[in-house]
Amino acid sequence: MTLPLTPVWFVALPLLLAFASPLWVRLRLLMPLLVGTPAVLLLLALALLPEVRIAPLVETIVIAPPLGIHLQLDSASWILVALISFTGLLATAFIWLGDGESYLRDRRAFIFLLLLIAGCNGMVLTGDLFNLYVFLEISGVSAYALSALRRDAPALEAGLKYLLIGSVAAVFFLFAVVLVYLQIGQLNLAAIAEGFAGIPGPMQILIGLLMLVGLGIKAELFPFNFWVPDIYQGSHPVVAGLYSGFLVKAFLFVLFHLVFLLLADPGVAGAWLMGLGAATMLVAEVVALRQDDMRRMLAYSSLGQIGLIALALGFGAEATTAGGLFHMANHTLIKLVLFLTAAVLMRSFVSARLADLAGAGRARPLAAAFFVLGALAVMGLPPLNGFASKLWILKGFAEAGVFWPVALVLLAALIEAGYYFRWIKVLYEPRADLPEARAVERWGYAPIAVAAGLIVLLGVAPFLVDDLFIEGAQALLDRGAALSAVLGAGS
């Protein structure tokens, strides 16, 4: 019997494996499966790529459209799925190879990591609004639990805070779902998209605002992102890397996917999101100037990049959208390098504070070198990948003759340089008394090195992948094609 290669495995495989976890403990397969699952999903994504590039894969379970559960894998969601699997692979490989904290290596962590991957995959794939809510809750709950894994005061506090704010976000979103269902009587996204224009204007605005607040909290947009630094700081850096790497990207993608799918004219909503993105970017970069804890600094820097991506996607031109998607992928790689490096440094020096890491570059040259590479890439300096995607975004703005985002992005990058270079300088501080470094497993560097290699490769040769992102942008922006893929031609 051959199993059909369909998008449903992106959700089903991690769910099934997570629920069978007692078996894997007994068979001592926990770690191999933790790394193996995202690896298999990545292979699946690669295997499906040729098909996806021809036409989106639509999979309907249970009943015929418009009733049923839809999974839709198009060029845009493929990017996210591949990104989630790849990030999951590197992070779990780091947990396995790095031989680190035991609480990241037990059964609970196994379950929640796989659930997080399943939830995020489900969110970006689903074509159904209620399923979207379910997946949003799955990924949310597993994220709260992952934050609290360490079970000491800061971790539990982070988990509880995350739970509170996450529940509020979910409530807002659920209200929006309920209102949509009351108005249209459908939960299929394509069907809603068709009927959305028929809803009275004020109700459209209410639904839009509810969704904006709900997803805005999850997607870390200003002024809904005040929870982010606390949670990132309280969580293990690897977990924070996953949040910054794909969790927030998945929410951001869902937000823009809904905007571009539901609204026939996304102009106004796009302008709002551009404004929020610009505010997110500038506020976060400025606040980061004063941060003395590496995890907190990285959290703010992550917010800044999220703002940039929102700014690019909100503009809705093909070049900025493609650049924005590319920047999503690049930022994931970069933040993965930075957060994993932070994990190495924290393990070596116990602290992530600026003062305690002074001179750490001499005791841990490899980790410091990776930090420098990640920092240069996140600031968008060539020849690294952050430059290629930023250039693409800025070029898109310049083509359209819109220059205020260009000025803001460059200003934000300059402010960003202000704190990243301060950290670099402090890491290489000449100090007589080198901080004492605890041993770290050298294999832990392997996943970082892979991500770093990709940072350089995508920076030098972005032409290898730019077609994927152009197709992704077209899939995201082309509302008509997305609708007809689900509802059939002529709709």
């Binding site: 704010i165 606040v287 310049a398």
Partner: protein, 591 residues
């Protein structure tokens, strides 16, 4: 392994020269959708490639002294390659990529110095990145005008568009060359950088800003004249640029005189010299551009020579302040000649080529009838004699003022080889001042569509206002030098020599150990009493930039107070924002 790596390092440092010999044709490929990189070697870029080809290997050679700093060697590679890319760029994106690689790799090299502090390194990287981001903004604006990233003259643009482009790119390049008031990052970073790397910073990296400025002129159909018409005999837009350059030169020259530290003095002197170049670019005539290029060439040779000599002194004595040195002429004779030739070139005195370069610039100012500028420039370049004198007197003459200076030995051979090569080049160009003009500068002028200024032979430098023959001039000076030195040596036996620095008394007092007897001590302090000069010396832009940084931190604190750790506030803000936007919408649209 180590030998192979060192060989590779040397090959990379020689690569600009190899590129000059071997490059023909062009290369191009697509970076991302719609961005095509292309590499060609224009004559203008070729000229600056020559500078790089001279500076890169000569700075690289002493870096190979043991113990090797592998990190520095590794960072030098992307630096040189980035600058090659910048010069080869046929489009603005490759130009920017090269520019940025140069920026971050030079910053990381700067960090290799244990003396680099946080303020210096931050000001270095932030000013240079500000320059880079202005450049990128200008490039994107250029792209929106021309629809292409290729570097070439614009057509059909309005005055406003040209002005925006000129301001964005001009500011970017002026930060890089370090003109007032954007120079604040230069002195401290040249001072605190690793000693040899300072030579490269001053000799090669600052020239990239000059390249950019000249490149900027080529973007406009009629260079500077098209921007704002003509003033007297020169372009009006350039008049502003020329004044920026001259004010920079005057202020930096006085600042240089007041310095107590060799490398800081050289740093201010670099600012002043690049100020002359900026002035010449502002004049924009073929004579002026020839002068600018000539001075860029001489400045590269001279500054690499001087910084390497100073690096040798610092290496052997561990001292970098004038008052801690002295009498090294007997202990470090080769370095003495290095500095001597260097300052003659730096001051623009005949017979060395520094004179030829300044002569061209002066003549071009006369030609444009910008006599006020000429007067200011002559003031600066005359005052420059004082710091040049300080540079030779402080370390080499007088009495040795520290135990290290008393026991110093000549710099290692690996430092002396580049010095000797540079001295030879300077003397050669002294004999043949027309050689750089005909071989290096005229092709650039031809490519820019200007008239050439080359004379009949390599030995001659000719202008419409007259010229001179380098061989004759050089011979006169050599004969005079030999005669004076001979007489001095003959008479020296009869002169009284002091046994110790305390072998004197003034006003009835016998100096003690604590009395600063060295000539260099406090030299330039009197300048503070000259009305205008004192005012200039007391002013600085450091306070302004520190204030700006302070304001940023205050803003960070203010905004940071939003990110409190209380979930009830997060939820409150979310609900309030939701309610407020709903209310705003209902008022605007009527729910």
């Amino acid at each position: 392994m180590s030998a192979i790596l060192r060989l590779l390092f040397l090959i990379v440092s020689l690569s600009p020269g190899l590129l000059l010999l071997a490059w023909d044709g062009s290369l191009s490929w697509t970076l991302i959708d719609g961005v095509r990189l292309s590499l060609t070697l224009t004559p203008l870029a070729g000229f600056f490639m020559v500078l790089l080809a001279v500076a890169a290997p000569l700075v690289a050679l002493p870096m190979l002294r043991r113990p090797l700093d592998w990190s520095s060697l590794a960072l030098y590679v992307p630096l040189v390659l980035g600058m090659e890319l910048l010069l080869l760029a046929g489009d603005f994106i490759s130009f920017f990529i090269g520019w940025e690689i140069m920026t971050w790799s030079s910053y990381l090299l700067l960090l290799r110095s244990p003396r680099a502090d946080l303020e210096t390194s931050q000001s270095y990287i932030l000013f240079n990145l500000a320059s880079a981001f202005l450049l990128l903004a200008g490039i994107l604006f250029y792209y929106s005008l021309s629809g292409d990233f290729r570097i070439g003259p614009l057509a059909g643009t309005t005055f406003g568009q040209e002005l925006i482009l000129a301001v964005l790119l001009g500011l970017a390049f002026l930060i890089k060359v370090g003109t007032l008031p954007l120079h604040i990052w230069v002195p401290s970073s040249y001072d605190q950088a690793p000693d040899l790397f300072s030579a490269f910073l001053s000799g090669a990296i600052s020239k990239m800003g000059v390249y950019g400025l000249i490149l900027l002129l080529t973007l406009f159909p009629d260079a500077l004249t098209s921007l704002a018409g003509r003033l007297l005999e020169g372009p009006a837009a350039g008049y502003l640029l020329a004044w920026i350059g001259v004010v920079t030169s005057v202020v930096a020259t006085y600042k240089a005189i007041a310095q107590e530290d060799m490398k800081r003095l050289l740093a201010y002197s670099s600012i002043a010299q690049v100020g002359y170049i900026t002035t010449a670019i502002g004049v924009g005539s073929s004579l002026a551009l020839a002068g600018a290029l000539y001075l860029a060439l001489v400045h590269t040779l001279v500054k690499v020579l001087l910084f390497i000599s100073v690096a040798g002194i610092v290496l052997q004595t561990g001292q970098r302040r004038f008052k801690d040195l002295g009498k090294l002429i007997e202990r470090m004779p080769v370095s003495f000649f290095g500095v001597l030739i260097g300052i003659i070139g730096l001051a623009g005195m005949p017979p060395l080529p520094g004179f030829a370069a300044k002569y061209l610039i002066f003549v071009s100012l006369v030609d444009a009838r910008w006599l006020l500028l000429l007067a200011a420039m002559i003031l600066a370049s005359t005052a420059a004699f004082i710091y040049c004198y300080k540079l030779i007197y402080g370390p080499f003459l007088g009495h040795a003022n520290s135990p290290q200076a008393r026991e110093a030995r000549e710099a290692p051979l690996i430092y002396l080889v580049p010095q000797v090569i540079l001295m030879a080049l300077l003397v050669l160009f002294g004999f043949l001042p027309g050689l750089p003009v005909q071989v290096l500068i005229d092709p650039v002028l031809v490519a820019l569509g200007m008239e050439t200024i080359g004379g009949a032979s390599w030995a001659e430098l000719t202008t419409t206002y007259g010229g001179y023959d380098g061989v004759v001039l050089m011979l006169v000076f050599i004969i005079a030098f030999v005669l004076v030195t001979g007489i001095f040596l003959l008479l020296r036996g009869r002169m009284h020599r002091a046994g110790s620095p305390y072998d004197l008394s003034y006003a009835g007092e016998v100096p003690t150990e604590g009395t600063p007897l060295h000539y260099g001590a406090g030299m330039g302090r009197e300048l503070h009493r000259i009305p205008l000069v004192g005012w200039i010396l007391r002013r600085g832009t450091r306070g302004f930039y520190l204030g700006l940084a302070g304001q940023m931190r205050a803003a960070a604190a203010l905004l940071g107070s939003l990110y409190v750790g209380r979930p009830q506030i997060w939820i409150l803000i979310a609900v309030v924002v939701f309610a407020a936007s709903l209310a705003a919408q209902s008022m605007l649209g009527g729910l």
